[in-house]
Structure formats: structure tokens, C-alpha cells
Amino acid sequence: MQPVWNWFRWLYETTGINLTIFYDAYDRHRFFDGFLTSLELMASCIVLSVIVGVVGAWVQGSRSKALRLVVGGYIQVFRNTPPLIQLYFFYFGLGSYITIELANGRTIPLVSNFVWAILCLSINAGAFNVEIFRSGIEAVPSTTIEAAEALGYNRLKAYIYIVLPLAFRISLPALNNNLVNLIKTTTLAYAIAVPELLYVSNQIWSDNLNVPEMMNVLLIVYVALVGLFVLGMTRLERALRVPGIGL
Amino acid sequence: MPWTPDQPLIHIKDVHKSFGSFAVLKGVSLDVAKSEVACIIGPSGSGKSTLLRCINALVPIDSGSILVEGQEVHDPKLDKLALRRKVGMVFQQYNLFPHRTALQNVMMAPIHVLKQDRQEVEARARRLLAKVRLVGKESAYPGELSGGQQQRVAIARSLAMNPDVMLFDEVTAALDPETVKEVLVTIRELAEEGMTCMLVTHEMGFARELADHIYFTDRGIIVEHGPPAEFFANPRDPRTREFLSQIL
């Protein structure tokens, strides 16, 4: 790889385009770590938010009115308030109470900023996922559920084996859209100093004063990441396509 | 050579048209004289609707020639505006503009395309709506009208351009059986007034009664044609016979 790094050094020396993340080993590792942190953040949030969505949609279909109202309230609160303030509320607000006292008498937060970012972003995106799955479930004809019940499935089993697989396919396009938003929203973790891509890039451009270069690198990396994700999800959509179902 | 009314108003010669690798028209020729009513019948997918769209330059042709009043339709230098004011077209799905009332639908093109005086256009539009028996529906939106009523507005909308020929593309195919008749009555009145008409239709009774000439198309060619009495009484081609036996 050394020739490549050298080329970037040469690029800097001849054109002034300063991409330290390629020719400087320290910046390269910082950037790569940030990239990995971002990927971890994205993957964890995607998985967790989908779980929140499935469980929430299940609860929304339950017979208990109180439960439905609670989930409905959760959705409305998280949809209609700024994600950044939600993050501050969780990390600085709730986080200040969830602490552990060390032997030397100091208290430190029990939950790291990284975990808070995952929790908050997943709960936020989960609110949207609940609605997405719910409309997917509503689109499954009631006769299909009746048929399942007639065959002896109970509600949970009908949900797992029949309703969810159908609803998931119907929900996929909207889900993709929301997960793309989630991927983009992981940059908010910057605000609570999670060393993800934006955060390390900020450090790098502060140290090297190469703002335009780093901004462009950031944009390209994110657009490429989202593009790859969309490509993958489109493949998934195509692979799961069943004749006669879906959009 | 200027066109004179004793020549065919529409002259179609050896027209070919493909969509990708699928040949829709494979050498179609026919003439329609002034004030003639020509009906095109045939199984679906035989290229009838495409032929009508070619006459109006909505669809370009691959080869051949279409003359409307002596003017080559597929001449790249053609003034499409001039062509389309001469050729009116009514569609199966009516295609009224849903955000405008019946009266506005009829008035729009004369005002915006022909730049005619609004008051004159409005008076004419009201007369046309009366002619298609829609007095009282002037300010109704398309969504408030039945299919048959919408289709009659669409006919009035085309007539507002004072066309020399009217093309009807399966105009009753999307209608309820009860409302088919009111549209057919309107078309018959037009034909009786001497309007040149080309119809793609599945209404065999109507075609037999109204048409001067029947064309039967199948798989992109005109299989057989003739005056209706002869055509229906003695179909010569086995494909025509099979089609008629299925539909009558």
C-alpha cells in the first residue's frame, strides 16, 4: 500500500490537496477507527430499531387499550421532537442519574456515550419502524389471518409464521427509506463526542486545517455508504419478491 | 400539390411500427374520404389503437406514409399544432383534466392553444356541451360525472378545436352498458352531420349500422375490409370468420 500513500503525499506536495488520512499513518488509523465506529453504530441501530419496530407493532395490535396508547404516545413524542434534543436528554439528562460509584469515591456514568447513542437513535428510528410495520401488518388481508387461525395457529404463531413474513415484504420500501435516514442520523452521535466518522474528521481537519478536503471525503464516504446500503436492500427486496405481493 | 376534398382526407400507405422487437403494424394501408365513417375492428393487440395514435402523431412510425389532408404527418418539419387542430381524438379512459370543470375542459385548448377570444370560446363550449346533452353539467368536475357523461365531455372538448376528422379509440370500452348508448348516440349525430370519423370499436352492431367501411385487423395487418353489409354477410378470410363468430 505504501506507493498509494506516497502518491497522496505527492498529491499534497504538488497540488496542495491535503489528504492526511492517506499518507499520515496516525490520521489514517484515526479515520479508519472512526469509520469502524460509524459502521458499528449503524449496524447496531439498524438491528435494534427493527426489533423495536416489530415489538412495537405487535403491541399496537394487542387487545390492551392502555398498551396501545403508550406505544402511540411513544411514536408521537419521538416523531415530533428533534432527535438531537432526544440525544441530549438521554445522555446528559438520564445519563447523569445512571452512574456507578467507584471505590475511590468518584462517580462515572454507567452507560457510555456510544451505548447512549445506539439506544437513543434506535428508539427514535424505532418509532418510525413501528408505524411502518403496522401499516404493513394492516395490509395483510384479515382473511389470511383467519385462515391461519382456522388451521390452529394461535395469535403469536400466526404473527410469526404468516403475518410478519408478508408484512415485512410490504414494509420493505418504507423501511429502507427509514433505515437510510437512520444511517444518516448516526452523525448526531458527534454531538455527544462519540468518535465516529464525523467526529474524527472534525479532529483531523482541526489538526491539519484541511477542511475542504475532509468535507468532501466525508460526503463521498456517506453517499457511498448509503448507496451501498440501498443497493443491498434493493437486492433483498428483489430476492424476497413473491408474485402477487408488494409494490 | 394542394389537397382537394375529392382526395382521401386520410391516406395511409404501408405503415410499419414496432415497439422494441414487437412489430405492431406490419404494412397497413387504408384511405378515408371526407365525411366517411371508417370502423376498425379486430382482436386486442392487433394494432388498432396504435394506428389511430400514429394518425395524430402521438406515436411516431418507422416507415410508410400517413397523409392528413395531403400533409405528411411524420414529416419532422410538420406543424403538430396545425395537425392536431385538424384531428380530434377521444380516448378509452376519457382523460379529462380532473382539476377543471366540464366547461373549462372544453374551453382550455381553444383559449391556450388556438389563442381564441375567451367569450367566444365559452359560448361555443356551452353550445357543444348542449349538443352532447350535458346542459346543467357545465360546472361539474369530471369526478362528479358518470363515465358516459365524462366521455361526452371529452367528445365536446375535441370538437371545440373544430377538427376535420375525429378519431375514437374504443371510447365505449370502459363504460357501463347503460351509458354506452348515450355516447354512441352522440357519435352517430356527429357522423350524420358529415364529420369524418375513424373508430376503433368492439360495438359490432354500431359499426354495422354506422360505418361506411369496415377494416378488420389482426397481428398488425388489415386482413379484410369492405362495406359493412358485405363484410358481415360474407367474411372471406377464416380469421375474420373466427373473430366474428366469437364476438357476435
Binding site: R68, L69, G72, G73, I75, Q76, R79, N80, T81, P82, I85, Q86, Y88, F89, F92, G93, Y97, F128, E131, I132, S135, E138, P173, A174, N176, N177, N178, V180, K184, T185, T187, L188, Y190, A191, L198, N202, M215, L219, Y222, V223, V226, G227 | R53, L58, L81, R84, R85, V87, M89, F91, N95, F97, P98, M108, A109, H112, V113, L114, A154, S158
Partner: protein, 279 residues
């Protein structure tokens, strides 16, 4: 090979998300939402009972005028960014359906690029790379931070608007184009007189949804140093230096946004349902 595929079926998240809100309507909805907000707050407030609840309310009240002035800036930014984004995004969306292939490809790429880029990164981009004043003719116009941030936020709005316009135009049946063409309307006339008027109704609910998303994104400006409500709330918290204030103050600011955005969301759903019934 298109790396960035358009998300057309998911174009309108409001449409797919509408159902759950429906069940959750009116006053009951607000009450429960407030209860959920409180449910997060109450245990926390109890956990650290040092200053009495009354003094907390008094402190919040003391800072309310400041927070309100910041919130006003959030609203101004949201209005301006929405206006800029709509004005830029509409022609971009129309360019996406242009008969000229190069125009189509370029506008598609621009749209996808700004749709896929994170809002915060675009905000940084605008803040760090826009000059602090602009020379137009001989006049130098100062570009304050909040205006630069507004421009940064209007970029993703533009891209989303572009997709809305493209989707709406493409959702109009082909027959409308065909019949307008047969009546000798030009392409331009067809677009402006026949197609776009029909699009406006379809675009209104997702457009309002976009506005709500933009509004809840405006606190991002605090990260790049604009003195909007989030920045001022953090200033107030710093001045008070009291841990017990953190949860109530953040909840308070969340409530401001909720009270502003929730009615918009309700209205969007109502419009959507009305248009859905009329067709």
C-alpha cells in the same frame, strides 16, 4: 451502474406512516404523549430531590424568554430553508423528467447526492465552506452563521423536494399527457396547466411532512454554533450549573417542539385522508 438507486416507492413516508396516527387522535393523543414525556421525567426528578420542584419550575420560567427567542430563530430557519429548498428543488425535480437525457442524469445525480448525504455533514459543509460575506456586484453582503446554516439545511430539503416533484409528476396517468398532446398543447403548457396543478394536491401532505422533518432538524444548528433554542438552553444549563435541571429543561425544550410539530403532523394525516377519499 447506478450505485445510488432512487427510493421511489418509499417516496412518501407520510403515506405509510399515517395509519398508526389515525388511531391516535385529538386531545387523547396529546394527553398520552405528555404523560409519556413525564414518565421519563418524574423518576429522574425524584432520584435527585435536592432542590424542590417549585424552584425548578421558577428557574425554567426565568429562562423561558431566552429559550423562546431561540425557538423563534428555529422557526425562521425552518421557514427560510423550506422556502429555499422548495424553490430550488422544484426545478430540479422537473429536470429529472426532462426529455433531454443529460439534464435528467445530472439532476438525478444531484438529487441522490444531497438526499443520501447526512444533514449534519451538509450543515458543516455550508458553515465551513461558505464565505462569511458575499460580493454581489459591488455590494458586500454579510452572511451570518444562522443564514449559512439555513442554506446548509435547505440542501437536503431541495433534494427531497426534487424527489417529491418527480414522484408526483410521474404519478399522473399517462393518458393526461396523451390527451393534452392530442389537443395540441405543448409540453410546457401540458406541464404547467394540466400536470402540475394536479400534482399540488398530491404533494401537499408529503411536503408538510418534509417541513416537520426539517423543523426537528433545526436544533442541529446548535452544533455549528447558531444561537437557536438548543444552544440557548445549553447556555442556561451552564449558567445554572445544576444537575437537577438537566432533565426538566430538556423535556421543556422537547415540549416546545412537540407543541409546534404535533398539530402539523395531525393536519398532514387529515389532509392525506381527505385526498385519499376524493381520489
Amino acid at each position: 451502474m447506478p450505485v445510488i438507486l432512487p427510493l421511489s416507492p418509499a417516496l412518501n413516508p407520510a403515506r405509510t406512516e399515517g395509519n398508526a396516527i389515525r388511531f391516535f387522535r385529538g386531545r387523547r393523543g396529546i394527553i398520552v404523549s405528555v404523560l409519556v414525556l413525564l414518565a421519563f421525567g418524574i423518576p429522574a426528578a425524584h432520584a435527585q430531590a435536592a432542590p424542590g420542584p417549585l424552584s425548578i419550575i421558577a428557574t425554567i420560567w426565568k429562562w423561558t424568554p431566552l429559550i423562546a427567542s431561540g425557538f423563534l430563530l428555529n422557526i425562521i430557519i425552518s421557514f427560510l430553508a423550506m422556502a429555499i429548498g422548495t424553490v430550488l428543488g422544484t426545478p430540479l425535480g422537473l429536470a429529472q423528467i426532462s426529455p433531454q437525457r443529460p439534464v435528467r442524469s445530472v439532476s438525478w445525480f444531484v438529487t441522490q447526492f444531497f438526499r443520501n448525504a447526512p444533514w449534519l455533514v451538509l450543515l458543516f459543509y455550508a458553515m465551513l465552506l461558505l464565505p462569511f460575506n458575499m460580493q454581489i456586484g459591488g455590494i458586500s453582503i454579510a452572511l451570518p452563521d444562522w443564514l449559512k446554516a439555513t442554506f446548509g439545511l435547505s440542501l437536503p430539503v431541495m433534494a427531497n423536494m426534487s424527489e417529491l416533484v418527480r414522484g408526483a409528476v410521474q404519478s399522473i396517468p399517462h393518458g393526461q399527457w396523451e390527451s393534452a398532446e392530442s389537443l395540441a398543447f405543448t409540453r410546457r403548457q401540458t406541464l404547467w396547466m394540466i400536470i402540475l396543478p394536479q400534482c399540488i394536491k398530491r404533494m401537499l401532505p408529503p411536503w408538510m411532512n418534509l417541513y416537520a422533518i426539517l423543523t426537528v432538524a433545526t436544533p442541529l444548528c446548535s452544533i455549528v454554533g447558531v444561537n437557536e433554542s438548543m444552544t440557548l438552553t445549553n447556555d442556561a444549563l451552564a449558567a445554572e450549573a445544576n444537575h437537577a435541571l438537566l432533565v426538566p429543561m430538556y423535556l421543556y425544550l422537547l415540549a416546545w417542539f412537540f407543541i409546534y410539530c404535533y398539530p402539523i403532523a395531525r393536519w398532514t394525516v387529515a389532509l392525506e385522508r381527505r385526498f385519499a377519499v376524493k381520489g
